[in-house]
């Protein structure tokens, strides 16, 4: 069955009117035929997986044809905003979902800035894109009216130039009434580490969404609309004040996030001996990249739509004759780690500049940093030489060469074409098979953050079981690095719904910590809440299920208990695992890089620590058991039937 038949069948089941106050429509865009149609997510789906990431999974589950390949135009690319996106403080987020051309498994990526909220201001909660546009196309949505326009004037533009041109030609003002998601040259060139930009720095980063959007011939989606209030079931603003106060009163927000942003995490990771260095061959790096060394380059902070936290550091290298990469937005902790220790770079200025270049080129810093780190280690070991790199010596810490390689990657020029194939470099014949021994990736996706998880077993389990591949943002039990929580056994048990070992390197109960985080984060993504401000990620006191269900009831009139909402989170993971199973994922894929099993951690207070294969396998079995998963990691039969009953057959 082709995509058009699948969409037609789905549309037959979808209501033509909103099912609850504030619900926006789902816009289906056939880029090849230049046709659009809209309908609404059924209520049974909302009650099962909410909206945002959750409902994106419903659309992918129904429309995916796994006999094709990820970049086939019949494989849809789906954007979705959360149930509370644009209405609640710090709920500024949305997800982008497809079949990943980079990893070969689920593609699901989250971003904030203004697009997810402004999409809703135009009356849409989701956009489902399919078919290859006959010529480069830009979708423009003006006050809810959709037009498909010629994007050829923007072809070849990267992010900075594109944003200037669109503001000029389309009109409107960023952050007031104009928002955009767009690809860069990297997306046009199907670079597998390319993201879909959602702002100067905000990016749907992971899994190659830029390449997927490029394969459809879509350069951008632009929204233009006045911000407005939504009709809601009940007044919700008084409770918004409670949420905002709660956010701003939380220590991690007040003392860290809104002052410096996420680079704070670098220091504890390096002191612990858990800072992935030189592609995780080492685990500690210079004090010179501690967050305070970025202070002098940070002129201010910015934030996403109606978020009072403003956690995003701006940067300025204070050059007397600056070029366009000497000022910008970021870096976040991931970029600091991936373009600092991971590549042997010890200069704050170099990290900032490379961050700014990646933002312009639309490159996912996690996957691009991973691809570079892998290549550098292969060069160090002689598995590749200047013959393969086109004469370029890959020397750790050589920021100038790395800068050149970023531009070559975006253009798929020379050795850049190899880096552009990311984790697929062996499959594509660029590297010998032996290279896979040094790849720090799970399910085909390079590690998102630089934290070497040989020590913290909850972190390790999370990276192994994350449905989109090796990524910490799906389920990181970050509070495992907070000693006051580890030392309060009763509080820790209450937090995770059972006993979890106080020892960071212990295995006992760690499945509970990951399960609890995965559930609440999936709910957070499906209501549009930022991960940084969701309970358990950064603090036990940030907004969680209670706040989400209260505002869901106020905004939509839909009542959920805490248990029902938690079940929605579990359901999202369940559908994702059903999708991954169709894509060939099995228990053996919920694993970790060999290096973490085989090589002891070389430094720090936990020197010698590694992952024990048997202990890990037992931990994985316990995780499956409490997650209602079979021994192969898919939902048990009764639950699978419930999910398929609510979401429909594929």
């Amino acid at each position: 069955m082709g995509i058009r038949e699948r969409v037609a069948r789905l549309l037959e089941e979808m209501p033509r009117a909103a099912q609850f106050p504030s619900q926006g429509a789902t816009l289906f865009v056939d880029l090849e035929r230049r046709e659009t149609v809209s309908a609404f997510t059924p209520l049974a789906v909302t009650r099962t997986v909410l909206a945002g990431r959750g409902a994106n999974m419903y659309y992918l589950h129904r429309l995916l044809d796994e006999s094709l390949t990820p970049l086939h135009p019949d494989i849809p690319l789906i954007f979705g905003s959360g149930l509370l996106t644009g209405l609640v403080p710090s709920a500024a987020r949305g997800n982008c979902t497809s079949w990943s051309p980079e990893s070969g498994v689920l593609l699901d990526s989250n971003a904030g800035d203004y697009f997810p909220s402004f999409l809703r201001m135009n009356g849409f909660d989701h956009i489902v894109l399919y078919g290859k546009a006959p010529a480069w196309t830009m979708i423009v949505i003006r006050e809810g009216v959709v037009t498909l326009e010629d994007a050829s004037p923007y072809v070849g533009m990267d992010n900075i130039e594109m944003r200037e041109a669109v503001a000029r030609e389309v009109g409107g003002t960023w952050t007031k009434n104009l928002a955009m998601v767009n690809i860069t040259r990297a997306g046009e060139n199907l670079v597998l580490t390319s993201g879909v930009m959602a702002g100067p720095k905000a990016v749907y980063a992971r899994g190659g969404p830029g390449a997927k959007m490029g394969s459809l011939g879509l350069k951008a989606i632009v929204t233009l609309a006045q911000t407005h209030e939504f009709p809601t079931a009940r007044p919700y603003k008084p409770y918004n004040r409670h949420i905002a106060q709660k956010l701003l009163a939380t220590s991690v927000v007040k003392n860290a996030l809104s002052k410096t942003g996420t680079p704070f995490l670098y220091k504890p990771s390096r002191m612990l001996g858990a800072m992935g260095t030189r592609n995780n061959q080492e685990t500690t790096w210079t004090e010179g990249l501690d967050a305070e060394h970025f202070d002098r380059y940070r002129p201010g902070m910015e934030g996403c739509f109606r978020c009072p936290v403003n956690c995003r550091p701006l940067n300025d290298l204070h050059k007397s004759t600056p070029d366009k990469y000497d000022k910008g937005d970021g870096p976040e902790y991931v970029t600091l780690g991936k373009f600092g220790p991971n590549l042997g770079i010890d200069s704050v200025e170099a990290v900032i500049r490379l961050n700014n270049i990646c933002n312009d080129l639309g490159l996912d810093t996690a996957s691009t940093g991973s691809a570079l780190g892998w290549a550098f280690e292969l060069f160090q070991r002689g598995l590749i030489t200047t013959k393969e790199t086109g004469g370029i010596a890959l020397q750790w810490g050589d920021a100038a060469t790395i800068e050149t390689l970023l531009f070559m990657t975006a253009a798929r020029e020379g050795f850049g074409a190899v880096l552009a194939d990311s984790t697929k470099a062996v499959e594509k014949g660029h590297y010998p098979r032996e290279a896979l021994r040094y790849l720090i990736a799970v399910k085909g996706l390079g590690q998102s953050d630089p934290h070497d998880a040989r020590i913290l077993k909850a972190f390790a389990l999370g990276l192994a079981v994350a449905t989109r591949g090796m990524d910490h943002l799906r389920n990181r039990a970050t509070l495992e690095i907070n000693a006051r929580i580890n030392d309060n056994a009763a509080f820790k048990s209450e937090l995770y719904g059972g006993v979890v070992s106080a020892e960071p390197n212990g295995y006992a109960g760690k499945e509970r910590a990951v399960r609890a985080c995965e559930d609440i984060y999936a709910v957070g993504d499906s209501v549009g809440m930022c991960r940084f401000t969701t309970k358990l990620f950064n603090s036990p006191t940030l907004p969680g299920l209670e706040e989400f269900r209260t505002q869901i009831a106020n905004v939509t009139g839909l009542e959920f208990s805490d248990a029902e909402l938690r079940q929605c989170g579990l359901n999202v993971m369940g559908v994702e695992r059903l999708i991954n199973h169709r894509l060939g994922v099995r228990r053996q894929d919920d694993t970790l890089p060999d290096r973490w099993f085989d090589e002891p951690n070389p430094s720090g207070p936990y020197q010698g620590e590694k992952i024990d294969r048997q202990e890990f396998d037992d931990l994985l079995s316990r995780f499956y058991a409490i997650s209602r998963l079979t021994s192969e990691g898919v939902p048990e039969e009764a639950w699978r039937k419930q999910l398929v009953g609510a979401l429909g057959q594929t």
Binding site: S251, F264, L265, P268, T478, N482, D487, S539, P605
Partner: protein, 83 residues
């Protein structure tokens, strides 16, 4: 004598560094001594944001009982997650 270095967020209360001259043998005792020097500091430190590092070794559990000896340098390290 034990030297304690504080992060920027605590410095309005503690200053950048405090030196504890009374005899302390554990981190738990050290926190009480700090509170005697700067009333309210123990309350501020009872916050999951802050970890203790003793001579650059970051402590992640069983902190109050960890030994501290004369000449040690303690650092209060904010710990958080990022993306």
């Amino acid at each position: 004598m034990v030297t304690v270095n504080f992060p920027a967020a605590l410095q309005p209360l503690s200053g950048a560094t405090l030196v504890v001259r009374e005899s302390v043998h554990t981190v738990g005792q050290l926190v009480k001594a700090l509170d005697r020097l700067v009333p309210g500091l123990a309350h501020e430190l009872d916050d999951p944001l802050y970890n203790f590092a003793v001579n650059d070794e970051l402590l992640l559990h069983n902190v109050d009982a960890r030994p501290v000896k004369d000449g040690d340098v303690i650092e209060i390290v904010p710990s958080m997650a990022g993306g």
